[in-house]
Subunit: 176 residues, 2 copies
DNA sequence: CCATCCATGTAAGGAGTTACATGATTGG
DNA sequence: CCAATCATGTAACTCCTTACATGGATGG
């Protein structure tokens, strides 16, 4: 999942819930991770310092005077930056969304942001349909190569995963 | 998919089919990629030179005398290295297999290697059962947090994907 | 007092992306 | 002759992992 500042937005997203330390962020990654993502301290701490430098986050003044704990909170700029990123599915020039971009945003959406949530699900639905068509084509080609049995199984797996995704997002969209 | 020499084994795996150039390898990656993986020239060419250095591959003597084409073939060492990697699911000390390691090996398995294929599917089946149990637990926790609706959907997606995988591998195992 | 958890980092290196650079061959 | 394809690479940069380094606070 390279090349899109994933970590930056994950951290900003977590800080929208409440101010916290790098250590807290790591705890949440480890607890909520299994679904799709995690990061070690060696990525988190330097990233926090970069975000501080860019003034997307700031240090909460500590009551405990001689503690090394650094509690971070979002700045106005940080909140805006995160919300702009989250609203991607609402921008008219974007019509497709890969699984990673989709999941990452979905993670931070609740029923309060119903319009973003709907746009996100609809966009993913569109992309899934295209991906399914491509996979059907690949499957029809690979069946002529019995020596590539493993690859055929992979395509079947991808097909059944995407079909079940499409079904799930459609049914969720209906309930919104 | 870091830290496991993926590219090395992908290249060795493709070269078991027939000798080819870096350019050919890239073509195949682009054609067979969509399912899970690809690599740009800037990764392929340096990797080929590393494999040449390690004597896992060698240059095929060219008939065309003044061509810049470099056709690579597996050496005995390269073939052995690849087969050892492919046989991982047969090794008794390994009992679990994540999706990436599973898919990567499955890609190169045909019905000729029925014993490896069976062991691979069985091992993935075991791992899937554990992953499903974890996800069920996470789902039961997240339902108490309606503000994390997006995360709940992600867990549901993962659950339905893994359930459909489990069903698929079970039915394929029955047919082998 | 000692283990575990809390807490913050640096260093080294591998993996992956994007951009750049170059030139031969093939087919219309 | 010109465009597309074949063909091989380097450079710079970001992303990610593993290992290392340090020390305070808490609870049994």
């Amino acid at each position: 999942m390279a090349r899109s500042n994933t970590l930056q937005y994950m951290i900003l997203g977590l800080l929208t819930r409440q101010p916290m330390t790098g250590y807290d962020i790591k705890q949440i990654f480890d607890k909520e991770k299994a679904e799709f993502w995690t990061a070690p301290f060696s990525q988190i701490y330097p990233e926090l310092n970069r975000l501080l430098n860019k003034e997307l986050i700031s240090l909460v003044e500590s009551t405990e005077i001689n503690s090394r704990r650094k509690v971070y909170q979002l700045t106005k700029l940080g909140t805006d930056t995160f919300m702009d990123w989250l609203k991607l599915p609402l921008s008219p020039e974007i019509t497709q969304l890969n699984n990673d971009d989709f999941i990452l945003r979905l993670h931070f959406l609740g029923k309060e942001q119903i319009d973003i949530l709907k746009a996100l699900l609809e966009m993913r639905e569109r992309t899934l349909k295209l991906e399914l068509a491509e996979l059907e084509l690949e499957l029809s080609e690979v069946v002529h190569h019995p020596e590539q049995f493993g690859r055929e199984l992979i395509i079947q797996k991808e097909l059944s995963n995407k079909k079940s995704d499409l079904k799930l997002w459609r049914s969720e969209l209906k309930n919104l």
